[in-house]
């Protein structure tokens, strides 16, 4: 059970993000909701890569002499997470830029009051 705790925490983060998206109408809070989901997924990716007792996947650093089958942690999930964080920064920046533009033109961030586009 305790081994699954990281996954549970990730899913709680994702659920909080979805809750924010569904219940909030402020554009900045919508962006916060998106970022919460993003962080939940990133955390999930990183925690997938955890190997109990694993060593860094560098052959020259691997313990010598001890049992040959020392588990190594794959570096792939970390690499994926880094990429995903960078993409997340770009999308969040774009989202906030649009929110700023909307605020500048309408003077409000309330999604319920800026709807020019309907139907």
């Amino acid at each position: 059970m305790i081994g699954n705790l990281p996954f549970v925490v990730c899913m709680i983060l994702v659920a909080l993000g979805l809750w924010t998206l569904m219940t909030r109408r402020n554009l900045i809070k919508l962006a916060i909701g998106i970022v919460l989901i993003e962080n939940g997924v990133n955390l999930f990716l990183v925690s997938l890569g955890y190997v109990r007792g694993g060593v860094a996947p560098i052959y020259t650093y691997a313990p010598q002499g001890v049992p040959v089958n020392v588990p190594m942690a794959m570096p792939t999930p970390q690499a994926l997470t880094l990429t995903s964080i960078v993409i997340g920064v770009a999308t969040t920046a774009l989202l906030l830029a649009f929110a700023v533009l909307i605020h500048r033109q309408r003077g409000t961030l309330d999604a319920g009051r800026i709807r020019e586009l309907r139907g």
């Binding site: 994702v14 998206l21 554009l27 919508l30 998106i34 989901i37 993003e38 997924v41 999930f44 990716l45 997938l48 794959m74 792939t76 999930p77 994926l80 990429t83 995903s84 993409i87 770009a90 999308t91 774009l94 989202l95 649009f98 929110a99 533009l101 909307i102 033109q105 309408r106 800026i114 709807r115 020019e116 586009l117 139907g119």
Partner: protein, 513 residues
């Protein structure tokens, strides 16, 4: 080392380089920028056509990034560790669609966009979006797939909302971006689940492993949800009319290509990735969503008063026809009756036809906005007196979209009707009814905007580049309608076959054996 060997990566790398170099060219002179865009566009189209010729004559093309030779897909332990690009007939077919729409959009944009209103911005984002779509269609790696998906999201929303001096584009872009990011994150979560389960990201390798466990099904649900959001199918379609309606005409047709790329990704997932664990339930779900999309979108089109939004709902309804056909193919996948194959061929053929006729309609909307200064059907009228070419093209696109023979929309819709009928006559009746309603909507729009007494115009005349862009698509609409048999036999059938029975070929091309 010949250049021909590196065609798959060049098709992605050239527009990517073109996009980032374009603003630099614009610093020198705007004519140099236009020339650069044309050269990059022509080179990209040439690469896509070369790739398609290779795929349709030789077979599946595999390209491994970072390997000693491009065909070394497997690492030393026989495990696919590198990112691979895989172009099968379906991927090449989709790349051809993006070549058609991208080429037409580029030519049209040169005459349509105004220098003082962000022409450089729009053109460089357009090339970025093109690169992202091509990557999405050619990649054989799940994470790479996610990266390209996000690249298209960012570029598409940038294109929708770059006109910061107007109030509506940023709003449409915000809405769209929220949906796209959410869809992208669902896909990423699914990729993470599949990686945690099988320790691999290669699509062919994953496809060989997936057996239909609970986690597999959760991942499938997430992928379906995320990609349907991207494709604008009905429960998740809210962003599409705003995005299409607010975007420039040349942007709107690239957005059509973008939603089709999302649809292609969906097909790739259900037919190739999950082809070994296919269940009819998913097929029924996709069929239902398709029928719902057709119906809701057409009904919404009836009440539109803005020409751009009206065409936008037409575009959404066509996504429904493709989903409907693919769903029927999916229900019968593995069982293998002939009508499943025909349905799939109809759906795939309709993607190309929809690209041509909806693209033509969006370009006409742009021309109307240019000529009359607005797209409001309540104030438009009498455009046919001055805009003869535009009204002709609009009528052509509308008739093709509604499926009137002998235009291209008829050929593919007939295939869809016939095959869906064998699964459920009610669905065919709904689809035909929706088509008739769509025809009525477009006839009314044509009458409202183009017929009637001559009105005073506030806009500017059309440029030759805009007419050339529309002419390219109009030629396809007519040509594909005149010789549908040839097109189906040489282009559509191999592409549909790649989904229908091509999974083994795809797997063998990447994994060997």
């Amino acid at each position: 080392m010949s250049l021909a060997m590196h065609v798959p990566i060049l098709a992605i790398a050239v527009p990517l380089l073109g996009a980032f170099a374009l603003p630099l060219m614009a610093k020198v002179h705007h004519r140099l920028r236009d020339l650069w865009a044309l050269v990059v566009g022509a080179f990209t189209v040439a690469m896509i056509v070369t790739l398609a010729v290779q795929v349709f004559t030789v077979g599946v093309q595999v390209y491994t990034l970072g390997a000693d030779t491009p065909d070394a897909t497997l690492g030393p332990q026989g495990f696919p560790i590198r990112i691979t690009l895989v172009a099968d007939a379906m991927g090449a077919f989709m790349a051809l669609i993006s070549a058609l729409l991208g080429g037409a959009a580029l030519i049209y944009a040169l005459g349509f966009l105004e220098e003082s209103k962000g022409k450089t911005l729009s053109m460089s984002l357009f090339l970025l979006l093109w690169a992202g779509m091509l990557g999405l269609k050619l990649t054989g790696d799940m994470f790479n797939f996610f990266v390209f998906l996000e690249l298209t999201s960012v570029a598409a929303c940038g294109l929708i909302g770059y006109r910061a001096w107007e109030s509506r584009p940023p709003e449409a872009a915000f809405k769209t971006l929220v949906m796209f990011i959410l869809g992208g994150l669902m896909v990423l979560l699914a990729v993470a689940i599949l990686y945690g389960e099988y320790g691999a990201l290669n699509m062919a390798f994953l496809s060989a492993q997936i057996g239909g466990s609970l986690l597999d099904r959760v991942a499938l649900g997430l992928l379906l949800g995320g990609l349907l959001m991207k494709a604008g199918a009905v429960p998740m379609h809210m962003w599409a009319p705003d995005a299409y309606g607010e975007a420039d005409a040349n942007t709107a047709i690239v957005l059509v290509a973008n939603t089709q790329a999302g649809l292609y990704a969906l097909f790739r997932v259900v037919f190739t990735l999950y082809g070994g664990a296919a269940t009819p339930e998913v097929g029924y779900l996709v069929t239902t969503l398709g029928a719902l999309t057709v119906l809701v979108a057409v009904l919404m089109a009836v009440v539109q008063t803005n020409l751009g939004r009206l065409v936008a709902y037409g575009a959404i309804s066509q996504i429904g026809y493709m989903l409907l056909a693919a769903g029927v193919g999916l229900v019968t996948l593995g069982v293998g009756p002939e009508f499943g194959r025909v349905a799939l061929q109809g759906g795939v053929f309709h993607m190309f036809n929809d690209a041509a006729c909806i693209g033509l309609l969006f370009l006409c909307v742009g021309a109307v906005r240019r000529a009359a200064g607005s797209g409001d059907l309540r104030s438009l009228g009498g455009l046919a007196h001055t805009e003869k070419w535009t009204s002709g093209f609009f009528l052509l696109g509308a008739l093709a979209l509604a499926g009137i023979p002998p235009l291209n929309g008829f050929a593919s819709k007939l295939m869809i009707y016939q095959s869906v009928f064998q699964l459920s006559p009610i669905l065919t009746a709904l689809a035909v009814l929706a088509s008739i309603l769509l025809l009525a909507v477009f006839v009314r729009a044509f009458q409202g905007a183009f017929l009637g007494p001559r009105q005073s115009m506030s806009g500017a005349p059309l440029s030759p580049a805009m007419l050339a862009g529309m002419a390219v698509l109009a030629v396809v609409v007519i040509a594909f309608g005149l010789v549908p048999d040839l097109v189906v036999r040489h282009l559509v059938a191999p592409a549909a076959e790649a989904l229908w029975t091509g999974r083994d070929v795809y797997l063998a091309a990447v994994l060997g054996g």
